[in-house]
Symmetry: D3
Subunit: 278 residues, 6 copies
């Protein structure tokens, strides 16, 4: 697992605590604690897998005697009917972990699958697909990791690791130029500055002020093309706002470097995977 185990464990334990409370009155009251069972995960659709280590970890945390064979890895393309993993453990614990494991696996695979769809739509262009900070509470790392499994890249993780200048920041300093200069004098050398722009005048000023990245916010494709010409390689360009499956290819063809989509993480469709017990 690339994500640190202790970080993932915290998420899983909170989820299990929500889901189990203290006993599973169906399983604990009916099934012998020592009974063991086999089970497997099977894909119910085509897509990109993500979260299999996390899902397996759910059972490992519940059951030290849990055993597994994992056939597909995070980032693998999977087809409807594929067996993703085969595993066995105490029946009561398989039943206690089932929902939590699937909730995580389906959510992460949903993100990877949707990201991959967008990435493939832009194949052959220069554009990289990235996420945003529009994520769900407590699971940003899981979501951002899932975006990379789908072939996307990660935008900044938090407010400390890349500066992004919007109106309020710029107003506070009088101008884009003023804001970039003031910030440059305070930022460490490892940190980039991105400037949000809404028209070509702002684009020009941002490029001249030395922004590392210029966001072209909610611009139409013609304007973006114009902006990219003005910037002329002085900064990386990012298209953002109102981008969907329908228009992403057109946006990518403007020559923009990055396309960021909030929907990758804020509007996730669970990817259908079932757990079957034998």
């Amino acid at each position: 697992m690339i994500l640190p185990a202790f970080y993932v464990d915290d998420i899983i334990k909170r989820a299990l605590a929500e889901d189990i409370n203290y006993v599973d009155i169906s399983a604990d009251y009916l099934i012998d604690e020592k009974q063991r069972n086999h089970a497997y995960f099977i894909a119910k659709a085509d897509g990109v897998l993500c979260g299999i280590d996390v899902a397996m970890r759910v059972f490992e945390l519940l059951d030290p005697s849990f055993e597994k064979k994992v056939y597909c890895r995070d980032g693998d393309k999977i087809k409807k009917g594929d067996i993703i993993a085969d595993f066995s453990g105490r029946t009561t614990l398989l039943l206690k972990g089932e929902r939590t494991a699937l909730n995580l696996l389906q959510h992460m695979s949903g993100i990877a699958t949707a990201t991959n769809e967008i990435v493939k739509l832009c194949e052959g262009t220069n554009a990289q697909i990235t996420d945003t900070r529009k994520t769900l509470p407590s699971i940003r790392a899981l979501q951002k990791y899932a975006v990379t499994c789908g072939g996307g890249k990660n935008h900044r993780f938090n407010l400390s690791d890349c500066a992004m200048l919007k109106d309020n920041h710029i107003d506070a300093c009088g101008s884009i130029t003023g804001a970039v200069e003031k910030l440059r004098s305070k930022l460490g050398h490892t940190t980039k500055i991105e400037v949000e722009t809404r028209d070509l005048k702002e684009v020009k000023e941002a490029a001249e002020a030395g922004a590392d990245i210029i966001m072209l916010d909610n611009m139409d494709c013609d304007t973006m093309r114009e902006a990219i010409k003005i910037i002329d390689g002085r900064a990386r360009t990012e298209a953002s706002g109102g981008i969907t499956k329908e228009n992403v290819r057109e946006v990518a063809e403007t020559g923009v470097d990055i396309i960021s989509l909030g929907a990758l993480t804020h509007s996730v469709k669970a990817f259908d995977i079932s757990m079957k017990m034998k």
Copy 2:
């Protein structure tokens, strides 16, 4: 706020910790710590609001000097362009809280809106719409609360508060009848037993065994109608599996008591709300 504040606060603090890390290098480095600003939330679509107290709480946790006027309450119908709340506080803290507040508000309103759409499709029938345990880690309570704001009802919260008998439980006891009896002898008197059934034979046995609720799992509407006849009021009936906006009305018209949909919480589309600073 109906949800306990200390519970909501934990979710918010984890989300803020993810999003801020330690400083907001854009705002903290450019804007005077004492500067104050006004801002408001505005709906960008029609739907049902949910999470406004939670969103306001984000700012209250960051800024003791935060002030607010809230115009719409959880559960209210809102229209594109509606001002949901007006508020003011220290500019740097409004900026630090913005993303976390919107992520929560958009997610919860997305659930309430989607639930309400389903609820309205079933108006005039007997059917109640409920959620499932297919929720996202750490925020089940937020999601279940949002379902009620959209007019839905809550299915069981966790594995301790209602028994649900599936194949594995039933196999362990030899029969539905055996499982229900064994469970009845162990369960407290406040807890109901639901039995999952896949055909009319199972439906009959479950009804005779005295199940409180009988789930009609992935049945077509004709079979469900038949099942409801067989049950004849001896148990409440729940339709589950493969139910969508497209077919929910037809399912509701079978006379089933409850329709449960995983998608309400596992495949949420964020509801579009913006924060504008003045």
Copy 3:
């Protein structure tokens, strides 16, 4: 262990942190860290065992080299002098865990033993013995689990999983009938409604309003018998208030379905078990 290990571990870690602080200045300063020892738990009275997995877990968390043979399981009747478990580990860690393990084991066995005494007093009647929400902070699940090990059953776990209508709720709606109706329209289908009644008029109204459970609060046995007649199977009946070892049999013989006792968990007498090192 039926209780989830990660849940139990949290309780144990907090208890160990309280009890050890950072070093055990007696053992760590005098005994070689590598020295190993055998020890065993022995019952000092007759009763019902509960918490042996929890107690063993204390040592497992402290010492990865811990080994055990457990002779009695939760729920087993034990006699003074019985050896409950035999185990070995690093001496310093056995000493560090001893107090925490015994505190948990004695408390849980105390509950199981007291519950069992009540349960046996009611043998041959219809009455089930249940706990209440009068539990100690952080360990409700341990306590409720112990009640089941003693042969009792669990009343509702929390305020979300069963509705209980008292004066204030009823006053807010004008009448028992109004309260039950309003609640029915809001509750999910998995949740029962219990109504607290103090006289036969209320009993009658509760039964007619369709309460699932009717609590007969602090009634004498004659009144309870009358109430049970009025209810006539329309709801389950629960006796509560002022019930002790002395009068529980008499209460049970009224024909009431459930008898709930706060003392099972709020006034626990530790069951005497010793740890001996060899």
Copy 4:
């Protein structure tokens, strides 16, 4: 409050999380969120109050608009019928906090009351009454504080703050003398050494070895008197083991300095206090 608020708050939040889960389906679904109510705590027996600040804090954490008048303080003698505190707040939140507040208040007052009973039995003797480490998980500080409110004193809080030598420690060093010497060479100057003794030979050796405190473990009163003579003021003396309400006075009259009782905290009888709403 003498106990640090943030420490108490953690205990309360865990207790509330157990007790509420996410909504109070009785109160939240029936009572207007804005409705306010008055309530009071009334003693149902004679005893010593403890935990009133903790109980009030439960409501303060739930309801920022909570207001209170507190008439009795921790350590006060109270009589059946005494009004302990009068308070008001939002009705739904009073109902949500009631059980948690009472569980804490009744437990702590139960300890203070039982301790006080023992203390009074020993009045006029030299003996101080103390607790032990036989406490319940997570609430040792609450319990030890309650002992002081009842007029008792605290034995060591944890394994770091006073050394206690038992057989295993002594065996590891060959003799009491060896153990005390070795320990003295390692301990900081703020820490005392107590030696557990089971006969007069051990008592003598402990006194000569320079123990600060000598525990007379499970000795009869004649042996204790003899032991006290042998020690002759060289160490403080502590009686422990098998001490009850029935024999404590006799033990105290031996002239022993300290009498420690595990039952003060491991076998607590809740003190009866009710909350009434007006």
Copy 5:
């Protein structure tokens, strides 16, 4: 406070829990809980203040009635004898908070003061002074913030927010060029790549591979000058390793852009500030 309050609060609560345990047996047992007192912080040396908001927050968390006047802000130069803040609160709580507040304030001011000394030594050169990841557990953010208060800048906060290529990374890819290329294809656009170099050959390759930052690791000043010539503005240059107060000016005069010093945070000398009560 720029650092998020809830983040700082967690650090403070852990520190207070360590320092108080449950009661302050000196203050709580001797001083009336209602007694109030005035106190102030006074500098015992010349330096740069940091942590005054954090220190004040200690008392605010303990005592809702705490009041303060703060005369110096984080980043201010202070002189021996300066009164930093004047405050009042309940005496017992001032005493409970004193040590924790001073421990934090002295540590943070120690960092700011030492950083400032280095910054001043480099005045007039191009060089920026930065910290490293050589920080103390749990308080990295406090330490990095203190560096900025002393006039330094922050290097990367963690392993996610800037890539740093060392031997192992480079070996895994065959060459600096290979490593930079592979990484560029995976990294998001907001993230920079720094390459650690140990000789001029590596410097040249790193510059040609397009590294954003080139670390000149443990090089002498002549080699660094040479390296800077080779890089010729294609990347930012960072001197690291073996830099002290004695040689930092000489290093700065090589023209290097950044000088990073582990000692700023791993070998902190507490800055002397006293709390006096009136």
Copy 6:
């Protein structure tokens, strides 16, 4: 490990969470997850080792396949060039753990080394060297343990485990005598009383009042000698305030029992240890 593993684990997890965030973009993106490597710790100076178990634990928490040979133990004298431990594990996880492990090991060894230097300066005298409560937040136990590894002893751990009377406490009771008496009547028998004195008059009163320990606060050596004569064995004596490497021998030769130094934990110089990968 003497320090409880679960306690150490919490510190490590918080440190790793700070340092890794979610991925190590250098290692995770460049090095095959399955690649394994050998590494070792090597001393870069002469001193006393402390924290090797803690450092190894960092890798064990990250990597279940981690293997180690540890050649030096906590408290061992080490020389520049000594190999402290040899270990192997997954390369990406060795890289993720490196900084956290070294930060802890260098800090703890720094404390042990500095303590040992002071201890050796006082060899042949009566004086014991102790720490104070001037520690860093969250890691007091690590720091106090390191002091013992360097040959020092621990002063009180927290405000609950030894009483220390300063002006404010004494003023509140009118006199040293009054304060000691009042406290003696409230304290448990396991707890000592230390009185801070600033002149010989106070020393005399403290000795007569029966203080267990008398602190000679910021006195010169002649005064201390005088004080020790006055006390004449009635209490242990502790020198505190302004003690450094330069004057500690002179202080020790006054015959004082204990010398406490805040600098041992508040002004720590990291001890240089490197991790090399093979």
